[in-house]
Each structure stands twice: as structure tokens, then as C-alpha cells.
């Protein structure tokens, strides 16, 4: 059924604390959370890491219900993977069911990976909801720009990612249109039918064609506006303010806490 375009992880304007932070601060905070998630021990380190996440979430409380709705299906996916990992990892067996042998090592690994993934996805989602893709791109540019000196095409890669993100709502809208068009002439686009080659083409080919063409035109339009022909300036300069210092301090404190709890305790 066609509904409103789902506001997945696309940027939404707002006035929360997160919105007011400099995007570079948010990017660094995201890296910090990832680092924390990866080094956290079970269970204490992970608890502190989640506290860190909760604290960040406080910066945009009204967005959380929406985020939850979007992330809920991911939980199912993570759980499924968790089950798989539990079974596949060799180690101390819990129980034998035919040839399926879940192990405690597997279970621990599954839990750790699951918690890490969840935290990372949650944090990056908060980042993309509260930050315009272009600001994220600018922050990435600021963080990794120095790599240009060693010939890494940072700017181009970032531009591609930013533009891709911009187009997510449009792509969703177009997919819905193609689906409607094909269903209007009797196509059945449920998962079963899609696996049948015919129907998959009916959905993918129009989308691919339209977007390949668009890619060309977009490149032309950017070239037409003289992209990449000289030094770029920016409409909005980013400035670190007091609120960024507080946020950075809080995040740093949590990071240290996770490290201490995980490695010392």
C-alpha cells in the first residue's frame, strides 16, 4: 500500500540540543560511541556504553519514538543473526539438537555483536536525523581532509555519499510509483513473486534506467555549476560553541569510563 514517504533516517529540521550542535562535534561523538561499543566489556562496559547512548538520546528526546519505530524491525534481524552466530561459533556446547550445536562462546559473541550493532546503528541514526547530509559531508571532509594530501579522493567520495543520502526520499517515492504502475496492470509484487525473474525486472529496470539517466544529468548539472573547478567556500561556516564543549566533555568522560570499566575492572 502506498503511504506517506517513510521518514526513515533522513534529516528532519528541528530545534533539539542535537540539532544545535556543530556537526563536527556530532561526528566525533559518533566515532567515540563506536569506539566505546567496540571496546566495551560484557556486562559492565556495555552498560556504561549504553548509558552514553542514552545520554546522547536525551539531546533529542522527541525523536526517540520515531527512531524506535524504524529500528524495531532491525531488532528482528539482529536477533536472527544472533541465533546464527550462536550456532555457528565453535566452543563449549550448550545443548545438542540434531546437528545444531549452540555454544556459550557463540551466545556471548552474539550478544556482544548484537549490542554493539544496536548501539552503533542507534547513534548513527540520531546523527543523520539531526544533521543535514551536507553538514555530515562537511564534517567528514574536515575530519579526513588531510588524506587528500596522500591522494585519497576524500572530497569526491564524500560528495557521492552526501548526494546519495539526499536522494533517498526521492528514490523511495519513485519505487512506490513503479510498484503502483506494475501492480495496476496485475503484477504481484510480494516477496514470492519478486523472486521470479519477470517481476523483479518490472521493478528494477525502470528504477535503474531512471536513475542511471539521472546520475548523468546530475553530474552535468554539477559540472554546469562549476563543481570541482577551484577552491570551494561554504555558505555557513561552522563554529564550535560552548554547547559543543559541554557535549564533547560529556562524551569524552563516558568514553574514558567505558575504557576504565572494560580494561581495569
Amino acid at each position: 500500500m502506498i503511504g506517506e514517504t517513510p521518514r526513515l533516517l533522513t534529516f528532519q529540521a528541528g530545534d533539539s540540543v542535537l540539532h544545535r550542535l556543530d556537526p563536527r562535534t556530532k561526528l566525533l561523538a559518533t566515532f567515540a560511541v563506536v569506539a566505546a561499543a567496540l571496546m566495551a566489556s560484557l556486562p559492565l562496559g556495555m552498560i556504561v556504553a549504553y548509558a552514553m547512548g542514552a545520554c546522547i538520546g536525551l539531546g533529542a528526546v522527541h525523536l526517540l519514538p520515531q527512531l524506535w519505530r524504524v529500528l524495531r524491525p532491525l531488532l528482528v534481524l539482529i536477533a536472527l543473526f544472533g541465533v546464527l552466530i550462536t550456532i555457528v561459533t565453535p566452543g563449549h556446547a550448550i545443548i545438542h539438537i540434531a546437528f545444531i550445536v549452540p555454544t556459550t562462546d557463540g551466545l556471548l559473541l552474539a550478544i556482544r555483536l548484537g549490542l554493539q550493532s544496536l548501539l552503533i546503528i542507534y547513534t548513527t541514526s540520531l546523527l543523520s536525523i539531526s544533521t543535514p547530509p551536507l553538514a555530515i559531508a562537511d564534517s567528514l571532509q574536515w575530519a579526513f581532509g588531510w588524506l587528500e594530501r596522500v591522494r585519497v579522493p576524500v572530497r569526491d567520495v564524500i560528495a557521492m555519499v552526501a548526494i546519495g543520502l539526499t536522494f533517498v526520499p526521492l528514490l523511495i517515492e519513485e519505487a512506490q510509483k513503479v510498484i503502483a504502475a506494475q501492480r495496476a496492470r496485475g503484477a504481484d509484487l510480494t516477496m514470492n513473486a519478486l523472486l521470479e525473474e519477470d517481476s523483479m525486472g518490472a521493478l528494477m529496470i525502470p528504477l535503474l534506467l531512471a536513475n542511471l539517466r539521472r546520475g548523468e544529468e546530475l553530474a552535468e548539472s554539477m559540472e554546469a555549476r562549476l563543481y570541482n573547478t577551484g577552491r570551494r567556500t561554504a555558505l555557513h561556516q561552522y563554529h564550535f560553541r560552548r554547547i559543543d564543549a559541554y557535549a564533547a566533555a560529556i562524551v569524552l568522560a563516558f568514553l574514558v569510563a567505558v575504557a576504565v570499566v572494560s580494561f581495569v575492572l
Binding site: 500500500m1 503502483a180 506494475q182 496485475g186 531512471a210
Partner: protein, 268 residues
């Protein structure tokens, strides 16, 4: 009991053999209403009945079978073509009806003829080798090959240059013999050619019995942002300056009213 009916604020209905048009300015919600009628979107208000029954009433969440006798040509339909040959693209719909090859062949050829494409010439060509106007005809053939009872057209002439547009309109009208047609448009002249007209404004439909009655109400249409012939623009400008124009049921009558009004004022 109508063949297809929408209850609720955007009420409308169509019967076999009719062409009904829905006239609305850009942004008035035409496309969504079209999707609702085609059972491709849940109605925001009221329900959509096919032969008096609501096929979406049963089932919750599981994909219910939308009636295949109701089809729709979406806007810019030429963008939905995907198959290797024109034949395969047009046959896509009928194949889902589980018909035998002979019947599919018959329907495809017949549909191509109905859209004025020569089957012998186009059937094995790639759809992408055709012009935009031809591709839209192929898309229409794909829908006609389903032999639907109701055909919904969402702005079928949008984005066509004037010559292609006129050709396309000419081939649409005879189709009323095969299926009931609901024609969505933003252009008043196009809408006025239907047997009944619904004006979609502020989320509601308002039925108008004929083209003449539609043009009578030109002031409201102009205020709604609907595409009207140039003469009404002049009429509006004149009325803003205090002229009083007699009622007119068509653009040419409107022009005569303007002439008459001027003569009356001149002779005073």
C-alpha cells in the same frame, strides 16, 4: 449500483460505457485519489466499491487481492516499460492472468492496434527504441491487454508536446466502448469532453453535469488554479475592472460576451 464508486468526501462514480473526468489543479490530490480508485492506496476517507462491494474490507495487513478488472495508467507511464520487446511488455499484464499463449497473443496484438501501433512493426522492437509518445502508447496497450472493466487515467497527456498530446487524446476517447474511463486532468478543456465531470477542490469533489456547466463556473476554476483557455483570463481581468459579462457556456461564447459588453459600453 455503479461499476466503481468512491464514497467519502471525494465521492465519485463511473458506469460502463462512460467517460468521467476529474478536474483538479496541480497539488489538489488527483494522483492519490486515482491510486485509491485503483485499489493501490487505502482511502483516507470513505471507501471504494467495485460493483457495490469493497474488496479491501476483508483481510488485515495481508495483501488482499485487488480486483484485476480495475486498471490504471499512471502519470508518465512510459517510464514503467522494462521488457526486452514491446510484445513482452504488453504481455506482462495478461500473463499474470494465467491465460494461454494463444489468448495472450490475441490480446497483445489487439491492444497494440487499439493504441494505433502496427503490431508487425513494433512487436519485436525494444520499447526503449521508440519515441516518448510511442512508449506511452505501449504502456497503455499493456493496460488494455488486461481487458479491464474500468480504466483510470492519471493525467494521460502530461509532459507531451502539443502535437503528441492531440494524437493521444484522439485515441483515448474511442476506448470508452471497452471500459469505463476515469480521466484525471488539470486542464478544463480536456475535462469538459467527458460525459460527467468532477471538480476536485479543497479535498472534495463536486459533480458537474456537462462541459457547459463547467465553463459557467470559470471563476471558481480560475481561483482554484485550473488551466483554462486564455479567454477566461481576459474575462477575469475585465471583471476586475468592473465590467459585467453575461454568462457563457463555452470559450467562444465567452469571447462573444466580451465583444458584446464592449459594444454596449461604447454605445453608452
Amino acid at each position: 449500483m455503479s461499476l466503481l464508486e468512491h464514497t467519502g468526501r471525494q465521492a465519485l462514480s463511473v458506469d460502463a460505457g462512460e467517460i468521467v473526468s476529474v478536474l483538479g489543479a496541480p497539488g489538489s490530490g488527483k494522483s492519490h485519489l486515482a491510486l485509491e480508485l485503483a485499489f493501490l492506496a487505502r482511502p483516507r476517507d470513505g471507501e471504494v466499491l467495485f460493483r457495490g462491494a469493497n474488496p479491501l474490507a476483508r483481510g488485515r495487513g495481508r495483501q488482499t487481492q485487488r480486483p484485476r478488472q480495475v486498471t490504471m495508467l499512471v502519470q508518465n507511464a512510459e517510464e514503467q516499460l522494462f521488457a526486452r520487446t514491446v510484445f513482452d511488455d504488453v504481455a506482462f499484464g495478461p500473463r499474470h492472468l494465467l491465460l494461454d499463449d494463444a489468448e495472450i497473443e490475441r490480446r497483445v496484438l489487439e491492444a497494440l492496434v487499439a493504441v494505433r501501433l502496427d503490431p508487425a512493426v513494433v512487436r519485436d522492437r525494444s520499447p526503449f527504441a521508440l519515441s516518448g509518445g510511442e512508449r506511452r502508447r505501449v504502456a497503455l496497450a499493456g493496460v488494455l491487454a488486461m481487458e479491464p472493466e474500468v480504466l483510470i487515467l492519471d493525467e494521460p497527456t502530461s509532459n507531451l508536446d502539443p502535437r503528441t498530446r492531440a494524437d493521444f487524446i484522439e485515441l483515448l476517447h474511442p476506448l470508452r466502448g471497452r471500459a469505463a474511463i476515469v480521466w484525471f486532468t488539470a486542464n478544463a478543456v480536456e475535462a469538459s469532453q467527458a460525459s460527467r465531470i468532477y471538480v476536485l477542490q479543497d479535498g472534495e469533489t463536486h459533480e458537474v453535469k456537462s462541459g457547459g456547466e463547467l465553463m459557467h463556473d470559470w471563476r471558481r476554476l480560475a481561483a482554484a488554479g485550473i488551466d483554462l483557455p486564455a479567454v477566461y483570463e481576459l474575462a477575469g481581468a475585465l471583471e476586475r475592472r468592473g465590467a459585467t459579462l453575461t454568462e457563457a457556456a463555452s470559450p467562444s461564447e465567452m469571447r462573444e460576451a466580451i465583444v458584446r459588453d464592449w459594444r454596449v459600453r461604447r454605445d453608452r
